[in-house]
Amino acid sequence: MANKKIGRRQFIKTTGAAGIGAVGIFGSPFKVRRAAAAQKRSIPKDPIKLATVGFLTGAAAAPFGIPGNNAYRMLADRINKEGGISGRKIKLTSYDEAGGVDAQVKLCRKLILGEKVDVILGYISSADCKAVLPLSDELGGLIMAYDCGTHVLMEGDKSPYKVPKYTLGFRTKAHLGIDNIGLAFMIRKYLPDIKAIAGINPDYAWGRDSWLIFETAMKKLMPHVKVVGTWWPPLFTTDFTAHISALMGAKPDIVHSALWGGDSVTFTKQAMGMGFFEKSRMAFSRGEPYPQEVGRDYPEEQLICCAGTHYFLYPPHDKWPLNKWFVEEYHKRYGKYPTYPCYHAYQAMYTYKNAVEKAGTLVGGWPTIEEISKAAVGLSIQTPSGHLMIREDHNGIEDVLLGFSKRVPEFPFPILDPKRMEVFPAHVVNAPVGIRTVDWINSWKV
């Protein structure tokens, strides 16, 4: 089209006529401004319906569900005190994860379709996460899995796989790969002379997946090491004496374990009584909470992973005031130091908050859940334990902290020896987007 030059007079005439016409059609300029304002989305006055789901009863309640729930309540109070999320207060309701997968699927349907919650932050059990996360897209509800660990939750059947697996489903933490790869790195660095390893893991997906990743990583990093046995006690075993004796008979230098909760405490106490720690040592993939549970008698020199960099003494309080606030506030409220599920609760709560605020800024009002979901991708959030990044596979990635237990006079339980604490960066312990963790480890060139 030819470029026609518009003169000053012509411009005034045209815009003037258009202006008069516009006033004629739409009314006064004030009305135009009001119309523009109406297009901008409003912020609802009612509070955000935020449902948290975690074990409030049963074996997983004390180590995970209750500390996580405590943290959610503490954080909701903080956010509400600061004015809420984009001006909306949080109305937090806690639900019990007990009852098995079927019960959780029913509860999830009720929360999304019946209660019409804005978001579900929840789930500790990997089995529950695997059953519930597909419902996010099916029912059109935003679900952020906060504590479940299985690596297969967001991974496909073969590499490369399509991401994201779920449009409205997220996991706001890294999967169990970081714990078990981190353990293998620590063993190579600090215990290079070991010759034999063994495993004692709970006999279900969590235990089997943890051992798979650990064994695969060890195979790559220390191929000379021999596996002298693997034991698979059922979940909630009350008597580990036979397993401990069998482990002692197999004479491993180090024993990998993803035991958790009461199982971890029972195993440790019974192993102490049977002199296990005089002959061998443990590598606990989720051992961080248990020195606090067992107390001063908890054995020294055990290799402990923190499921991320979640530790009440790390990052150091003078360098990272957010951790100082989190630890002090939690201790003031609940009389204990926060454990990793508390940090995971922070990650879930603030992923949602940051995603809503980011999406809200872009759309100019309260965003839809699809817009929140899009905004969550690529978020990098400051948390009490450092940084969390939400990737395009809707999975969080984070650094991992490991260390050896050591008794100190300042605390009534062993802490991680500050001289032998190691942080492995996120890119070293997380598989790239679209690549299965096992395939990624097998591709390492050591």
């Binding site: 074996a59 309640a61 004390a62 004796s245 029972t266 106490k269 049977m274």
Partner: protein
């Protein structure tokens, strides 16, 4: 490439490799310790089944109640409590389980005596769910750690192997309880009456025995034994909701192996289950539980009444 032992290895090869190992004594002790706990639970289950003909699916919940009560008492006494108070305090678990058993028999079981077996199963399964909620109401959802009775006794050495002395105490307690029950059943008038009811309920009634009263007594006795097992186990493991399921299943295996209503059967079944589990974990770790079910299945096929059943 990392070398990996096969999941199962030849029994003879393993024995040869470990023939000088002093660990075998510990494997056997582990089996005896586990057998001791299962014996107490299955003994209670067997008495109730033998005398009353009731298969109590809530028996594991009574075990859990005993554990929670004992743990709560030990925690309430505090860390400074003297030794002479700590161990008797575990008996609170026995008392509470007996009391729950008394109420349960009176309110739920008694109306079921003349009903078919399926009604009894339904009512005791209902009681199982109910008692889980009662535990939740009383003690909440948290774990109860009460390891002091175990910690205080420390470790002893058996052929150079350290072993928790408390585990030996549990075995001795189970042995004493078993002997007392044997003396009671075979040497006292009440015991003879209980056995008479278990042998022929109609004849016992015709002879003028108060079957209801004796039934209540048997139910309370069985519940107290479950409570004792719970109280004895809690210093070695935290009390948790759902605590009673695993021992209940194993107690059923013991009853299947040993035979219904038999004291000797409970003892033999417990020893078989305890030792099979202990040795199975050493030799065949991949199939430790399957092995027990396999034995139960073989007994059911070969001798359906169990080794010592009638």
């Amino acid at each position: 490439m990392i070398s990996r032992s096969p999941p199962t290895i030849s029994f003879s090869r393993y024995l040869l490799a470990n023939r000088n190992s002093k660990m075998w004594i510990i494997y056997i002790l582990n089996g005896l310790y586990f057998a001791a706990l299962i014996f107490l639970i299955s003994l209670g289950l067997n008495i109730i089944l033998g005398v009353m003909g009731i298969l109590n699916l809530a028996h594991g919940s009574l075990y859990a109640i005993g554990a929670f009560m004992a743990a709560w008492t030990v925690i309430a006494l505090g860390k400074g409590a003297p030794m002479f108070l700590i161990y008797p305090s575990l008996l609170s678990g026995v008392v509470i389980a007996a009391l729950f058993g008394l109420f349960m028999e009176y309110l739920l079981i008694r109306p079921m005596y003349k009903r078919a077996l399926e009604y009894q199963l339904l009512i005791t399964f209902g009681a199982l769910l109910l008692l889980e909620d009662v535990i939740k109401m009383i003690w909440g959802g948290e774990a109860y750690y009460a390891s002091r009775p175990c910690d205080v006794l420390g470790t002893c050495h058996i052929l150079g192997n350290p072993y928790p002395a408390y585990f030996l105490l549990v075995m001795i307690m189970a042995l004493i309880a078993g002997l007392l029950i044997w003396v009671f059943m075979f040497k006292t008038k009440v015991g003879v009456m209980l056995r008479a009811i278990s042998l022929d309920r109609e004849m016992a009634t015709a002879l003028g025995l108060n079957v209801h009263k004796m039934g209540t007594f048997a139910f309370v006795l069985g519940s107290a034994l479950a409570g004792l097992a719970g109280a004895l186990v809690v210093p070695t493991t935290p009390a948790l909701l759902g605590f009673g399921m695993e021992p209940l299943i194993l107690a059923f295996i013991v009853v299947v192996i040993g035979g219904l209503g038999s004291l000797k059967g409970a003892l033999a079944g417990s020893l078989i289950v305890g030792q099979t589990r202990s040795i199975g974990i050493v030799l065949f770790p991949e199939i430790e539980l399957a092995l027990l079910f396999l034995i139960a299945a073989v007994i059911l096929v070969a001798k359906p009444q169990g080794l010592f059943g009638r």
